[in-house]
């Protein structure tokens, strides 16, 4: 019992921040993200025995979190929001050029289609390899790599077109 508790606490401390970030980009809402993370860790506690390989802990938790997120949509069919209409929360004032870009990038990430955004989140936040992402998402590796390519491509294009627009304005 004691050993289980220690193992669990170690998991919570190691992964709660990454899981929260991941959840936030799935649902675009801080409080829903926290609920998702809470629920994920509760389920993890109840089935901690099934986690045999400590190295797989992170992808195991992500899989639980994704399932919880899907459940949320099953429960709340009518609360579905079209992602294009949804502004991603951002805080703080926009100052320097870099902050401006950061702000734009956040919006663009929020507006990426989910099928492109999720592999990108797994790669950047989760640090997972192409093979790991394909097993988490249940897709073949080529599909995953194509989606990652498109995700970055879209972000880069969106950013460059805004910069061009800005340049034209300044010129």
């Amino acid at each position: 019992m004691k050993a289980k508790q220690l193992k669990y606490e170690a998991l919570v401390r190691a992964y709660s921040t990454d899981l929260y970030r991941y959840a936030y980009w799935l649902c675009h809402d801080g409080s829903i993200a926290e609920d998702l993370v809470q629920e994920t860790f509760l389920r993890a506690w109840r089935s901690l025995e099934s986690l045999k390989d400590q190295n797989a802990a992170k992808s195991w938790l992500i899989t639980i979190l994704r399932r919880e997120n899907a459940r949320r949509f099953e429960r709340k069919q009518f609360d579905l929001v079209d992602i294009d209409d949804h502004q991603v929360e951002d805080s703080g004032s926009v100052g320097s050029e870099q902050e401006m870009e950061n702000h734009l990038l956040r919006r663009q990430i929020g507006q990426l289609q989910e099928e492109y955004r999720e592999p990108l989140l797994l790669q950047v936040i989760g640090g997972f390899s192409g093979d790991e992402i394909s097993s988490i998402l249940g897709l073949n590796r080529n599909t995953v790599m194509t989606r990652l390519f498109r995700a970055r491509n879209q972000l880069k294009e969106a950013l460059e077109s805004t910069n061009q627009f800005k340049g034209a304005e300044n010129g």
């Binding site: 929260y20 926290e34 993370v37 860790f41 870009e101 950061n102 990430i109 970055r152 972000l155």
Partner: protein, 236 residues
């Protein structure tokens, strides 16, 4: 590796360091720069994805787990208790059906059993007054006109499902127990009865049976006479 393929792979994973990618970078400065730029862009993406989690997120998760765990334990206890109660209930029914638990259809046997089971609960000192006794005796159509002995106990009790009066007097040679049981109790009374230690008598009145029990060292006859003289029973 052609350039298009190289770019696609770097877009998909800027940190791809497979040997063919590294080789292409060494051979072509442009490709190396492209990779470096994409790696910078990825750092930008990572910075943009950074979201500050709520304060004490880990602690809150751990607290949530503790509360959930305690609730589960409580539910488990409740289930165990419910199972135990069900088992006890079934056992009770089975015993009742098989007649294992003692049953008395005889007033005197019941009176003896009741007295013996209650003997430990009778106070050592006699603190009840005759008024207290009469306030209860009146429900059975009786009134004690004069004191016969100090009263140690005078209370209603359940007598095989019938509300009855349980009295204990402090006699000179030991306690005397008297039950006043309504006539409609369905229990048959016998005039005289006894076991190894006690003996008793039953007196029928208009509304009730009065069962008097003493131990065998005392004369139950004397007590019956005393009580008959002291208690006035309503006539029909």
């Amino acid at each position: 590796m052609d350039e298009l393929n190289f770019r696609r792979r770097i877009y998909a994973d800027p940190n791809d360091s497979a040997s063919d990618i590294n080789k292409a970078c060494q051979e072509d400065k442009q490709l190396a720069k492209f990779r470096a730029d994409m790696q910078d862009f990825d750092k930008q993406i990572a910075a943009a994805m950074e979201v500050t989690p709520p304060e004490n997120l880990s602690e809150r998760i751990l607290l949530g787990q503790t509360i959930d765990f305690q609730r589960k334990q409580k539910q488990k206890h409740r289930v165990h208790l419910a199972i135990a109660a069900s088992v006890a209930f079934i056992v009770g029914i089975v015993f009742q059906m098989n007649g294992v638990s003692p049953r008395y259809d005889n007033l005197s046997d019941h009176a003896l059993a009741h007295m013996i089971s209650e003997v430990d609960h009778i106070p050592g000192t006699a603190t009840y007054t005759r008024e207290q006794l009469n306030s209860k005796l009146v429900h059975f159509g009786g009134e004690m006109a004069n004191d016969v002995a100090p009263i140690k106990f005078a209370n209603f009790c359940d007598f095989n499902g019938t509300t009855s009066l349980h009295l204990v007097f402090q006699g000179e040679n030991g306690d005397v127990t008297v039950f006043v049981v309504p006539s409609d109790s369905g229990l048959k009374a016998s005039d005289r009865f006894s076991d190894m230690q006690y003996h008793g008598q039953t007196v029928e009145t208009q509304k009730a049976s009065m069962v008097i029990i003493t131990d065998k060292k005392q004369s139950v006859n004397n007590w019956t006479e005393k009580l008959n003289k002291a208690i006035k029973w309503q006539k029909a």
